[in-house]
Structures are given as structure tokens and as C-alpha cells.
Amino acid sequence: MDAPVEQPTGAPTRIDFPSSNDDATVNAFWIQSVQPLLANPPAAVTLNLSGSDVRSLAMFSALVAMRRAVEKRGGTVTILGLQDIGKSILQSIERRAIALAPVPKQSVIAQTGTAALAALGMIGSILRFSQQIVVALFWAVRHPRTVRWRDFCAAAASSGADALPVTCALSGIVGFIIAFQTMPSFQKFGAPTMVGIVVAIAMVRELGPLISAIILSGRSGSAFAAELGTMTVTNEIDALRAMDLEPVRFLVVPRVLAVVIMTPILSMIATLSGLLGGYLVLYMNGISFAFYLEQIRQNLAPHDFIQGVFKMFVFALLIGSAGCVSGLETAQGPGAVGRSATRAVVSGIVLVIVTDGALGALFYLLGW
């Protein structure tokens, strides 16, 4: 047998495989001999398998891992006492070693960048589809007979009526919270009646539409992505294309149309509910409902309401499109539909908030 020469690396250069295969021995062998070698592979190593049974998967994996680690750094491996069966398995594994080579791991910065690019990519696809969607929407308005009204009704019911309870409850609570949190500060200045104006402006111009949009994204955006994603996975989208039916016209238009028509109404009701939620706090502070209404009437102009409804219209367009586009761009595989739904919700909410900021700036500049 070759006498092993000590190397300065510190890792053992001769490893004797144990003869027993029970779990305790394997664990001890792995911790004492295999891991140190993998962590710091020596330039040359002798692996002595005499007396051990390589038909044990644990032992064989140790052999393969150590050999790969040493050879990767350009070292030499001498294997002693390997049975014939082991040699042939080792050879067949060698041929596949390239396929098993580990994927280079990305740094955190690179991962963040990749994720950011993916999010941008989604916005890119929405923009790419948006032209198609807008053309199809105009076409649908001019040729209402071609719209699939059954899909429209289903989408309208689920994004409108079915979403009403949760949207109203949430925006009522948000209205309450705003009033509740601002009340102490205004009381300090002796102006608790001002809270009503704060609630009204916040709910009508911002939060009514925003809360409706976030719920729409979570309920309908994800549902559209999952529906169309499943259709993509089961080739139904392909079947439509092969029948010369454009999926955008056939599937996206009724859904987007439904949310665009239904959710501004939903958002108005949500706003009302928020105003009532806010009034609860005012009521506890002895402010009458008639006074609250008068305050709203004096401090809010019709264009404030129009602004809120217009925002919701834009949000619905974005969320509906993001959901559908995400569904149509579903990859293959068991996790693909889930990923599409996630992407629809995340990109929908990002788009909504970015657009909200942009619209806010625009309205400010226009002096509305």
C-alpha cells in the first residue's frame, strides 16, 4: 500500500471507510472524516474502502463527494479496495457528473437585482400587452356582440358584489383608525371637529380607491392569473390560438371590462363606508352627524369625488391587465400557476401605488 505523505493542509490524506453501516457509525464517519475533507480538500488523498460495503448509499455518497471535492481543486485521489460493482457504479456516475455540477450561487445583491428585473419585466409585459388590450377594449366597445358576456358577468359578480363585504369592512375600519389616531392631536389644538375633514379628504381622494384596489388585486388579480394560468398549462390558450381566437380579445377583454365597470362603484361604496367608520369616532366625541355632513359638503368639491372614481378606474385597468397578462405568461410545471398568481398580486399592487403617486402629482400640478 502507498504510504500517505502528510500534507500541510491539515485534512487527513488517508481515509479508511468504516466496515459497519449503521446510522451512528455513518454519522460519526461523516463528521470526523468526510466534512473536514470537503471543507478543505487536500492535494492528494487515499480513500481506503477495504472491508467497507460501498453498496451502502451513505458510504458511496461519501466516496463520490470526497473524490469530486479533491479533483475539483486539481488533487489526485487514490481509491483502494473498491469492489467491482462499486467501480462500475462510479463510472456511470462520472458520466453524469457534469449535469450535476452545482449552479453558481448568486450574491444577495445579484439576487435582489434579479428580483427587481423580474418585477420590471412584468411591468414590461403589461406595457407590451397594454396596446393589444386597449385596441381590443375599443373594438369590444364598438362591437359589443363579440364580447363574451358570460365571462364578463362571472368576473363582474366576483370582483364587484362578492368583494363588497370585505372591502366595506376594511375601509370602514381604516376610516375609524384615521379618525381615532388624529383625534388626540386635533384635540390638543382644540379643534376636534377638524378630524371630520381629514377623514373625508383622505377617504374620498386616496384611501377609498386604494383599499378597493388592494382588495381587487388580492381577489380578482390573482384569480385572473390563476384562471388564465391554468388554461395556459392545460393548452387551452393554445387551443384558442389554433382556432384563430385571440386570447386577449376572448379572455382578457371580458375580465378587464368587468373590473373597470364594477370597481369604481365598489370604490364609491367603500368610500362611504370609510366616512361612516370615521364618524364613529366623531360620534364618541359628541359631534353630530348633520354637522359632519355639512363639513364634508363645505370642504369637498365634486372634483374630489371624480378624482377618486377616476383613480379607481385606472387602478382597475392596471390590476385586471396585470392579472390576465401574468396568467397568459405562465410557464410550465406544477408551481407555475401559483407563481403567476403571486406575480399578479405583487405587480398589481406595485403598479397601483406607483400610479397613485404619479396621479397625485399630476392632480396637484393641475391644481385640482
Binding site: M231, T234, N235, E236, A239, R241, A242, M243, L245
Partner: protein, 257 residues
């Protein structure tokens, strides 16, 4: 080739996904009324060819004429013309889950013709009776067995009376009896309706039962290595084609490689 003009003509066709070429030199033609099976081992590009002919995947090069119209570099109008020549059945059936079987079959008629509702309904019902599904017309696809779904998908593929019908692995996942019934159905439809069928399959019994000719896509040489009647190729074809049609694997060592 006799005097009838081919309905499907591939010339040095190159297919694949993006930059991945899967088959680089596909040349064959199909005459009206013929049943041609595309076969070959796993990964040879059968399904890719099917998706390309179904106009769902752009060819990478060469020429593909469907009903006399060139697909490579076609305009949107040409693409529409080509698609109207084709009826496609996907491997999974790809029926629309939210619609009943009858509505599935009526859908293409509804969107591409001005026919009245009762006419559309009768057309769809007669197609369903041709595939023995008239009793299941009002069920949802999920309520049907796998074989029934494929028959419904064939009915839908035939609904616009396309001259060319593409079937992607019609017998995949079916038991031998159901698969044999489907083969009989395909033969019957080809004879009765004078349709041209391009069938992707690797089921040998199906190939010998239905195919007038086969196109063999070779996974190793990445090109068509044989075109001809299956019984003839089984005796005199190139080596890999003979082995495929006779179910003879290469020796175990090469197979592992």
C-alpha cells in the same frame, strides 16, 4: 406523388424553441385524404413539429406550406387563413373547463360563422354523434373519461370542417381498447369526411392501424430519416426506423449513454 396537390408541404423545415434547434431538415408532404403519422423516439421533436404546424411556434427556417399558403414569414391575414385550414386536438384534449361538451364544440362555429344558434347546435350535435358522445353533450369536460375528452376534442377540431386535422398523441394515456376504438374512429372520419390527418404518436399498434405513411423524425441525426408506409419501413427502412417499428432497443450499454 400523384397529380393531387399536397395539402401540407414541409421543405427543409427547421424547428425548435428560440435558439434551440430540435430538427433541422424536415421534408415531407401530405396529399388530401391521407393519414400520416409523425413518429420517433422521445425528444425527437414530434410535439415541436406539431406545435409548428399548428402555427403556435414559429419555424426557425425552411418552408412550410399549409393548404398552399406559406407559413414562414406569413402576415397576420395569411396566419388566419392557415388557421382556418386546421383543426387541432391537443394531447390533453384542452377542452374549456367552464363550458359543456356541446358548447366546446359550438364555440369555433359561433365565433367564426354567422349561423343561427339552432344551426350551430345541430352541427355540434351531429359532430358529437359522429364521435359517439351525443348522450354526454351537456356534461362538463371534467365529468368525462380521458378517452371521451379526446373524442370531444376531435369533434371540436372538426367543427369548422377544416381540410387538415392535427392530432397530438391521441392514444396517450388510454387503455388498449379505448385507444383501438379511437383509431377506428380516426380511420372512419378520414374515410367519411375525406379529411387529411397528421397524427403525432409513438404507439406502434396505432401507427400500423391508421397510418397510410409515416414520417420518422430521428432523435440522433436530427432530421427526417424515413417517409413511407409503416409495414414497408418495418422490413426495409433504415436501421433505427426498423428497430423503432419492431420495438428492438439498442444494446443496453449504448442505451445508458
Amino acid at each position: 406523388m400523384n397529380s393531387t396537390r399536397p395539402v401540407l408541404e414541409a421543405n427543409a423545415l427547421e424547428i425548435g424553441y428560440g435558439s434551440t434547434v430540435i430538427q433541422s431538415n424536415i421534408t415531407f408532404s401530405v396529399t388530401p385524404g391521407e393519414i400520416v403519422c409523425v413518429c420517433g423516439g422521445s425528444g425527437c421533436g414530434k410535439s415541436t413539429l406539431m406545435r409548428t404546424v399548428a402555427t403556435l411556434l414559429d419555424p426557425l427556417g425552411g418552408s412550410l406550406k399549409i393548404g398552399g399558403v406559406e407559413l414562414v414569414g406569413s402576415s397576420a391575414e395569411d396566419l388566419s387563413v392557415i388557421r382556418r385550414q386546421l383543426g387541432v386536438m391537443f394531447q390533453s384534449g384542452a377542452l374549456f373547463g367552464g363550458l359543456t361538451v356541446l358548447e366546446n364544440v359550438m364555440l369555433p362555429i359561433e365565433t367564426h360563422t354567422q349561423l343561427s344558434r339552432s344551426v350551430r347546435r345541430e352541427m355540434a350535435m351531429s359532430l358529437l354523434s359522429a364521435v359517439f358522445l351525443e348522450d354526454h353533450a351537456n356534461k362538463l369536460p371534467s365529468e368525462l373519461s380521458g378517452g371521451m375528452q379526446k373524442r370531444a376534442a376531435i369533434a371540436r377540431a372538426l367543427s369548422l370542417e377544416p381540410p387538415i386535422v392535427l392530432l397530438d398523441e391521441p392514444s396517450a394515456g388510454l387503455d388498449p381498447i379505448t385507444s383501438a376504438e379511437l383509431d377506428m374512429l380516426i380511420r372512419r372520419l378520414a374515410r367519411l369526411a375525406r379529411k387529411t390527418f397528421l397524427v403525432v404518436t409513438h404507439e406502434l399498434p396505432s401507427i400500423f392501424e391508421i397510418a397510410d405513411r409515416i414520417v420518422f423524425l430521428d432523435a440522433v441525426e436530427r432530421t427526417v430519416t424515413a417517409v413511407g408506409p409503416p409495414s414497408q419501413l418495418r422490413e426495409n427502412g433504415p436501421e433505427r426506423v426498423r428497430r423503432f417499428l419492431n420495438r428492438q432497443p439498442e444494446n443496453a450499454d449504448k442505451e445508458a449513454a
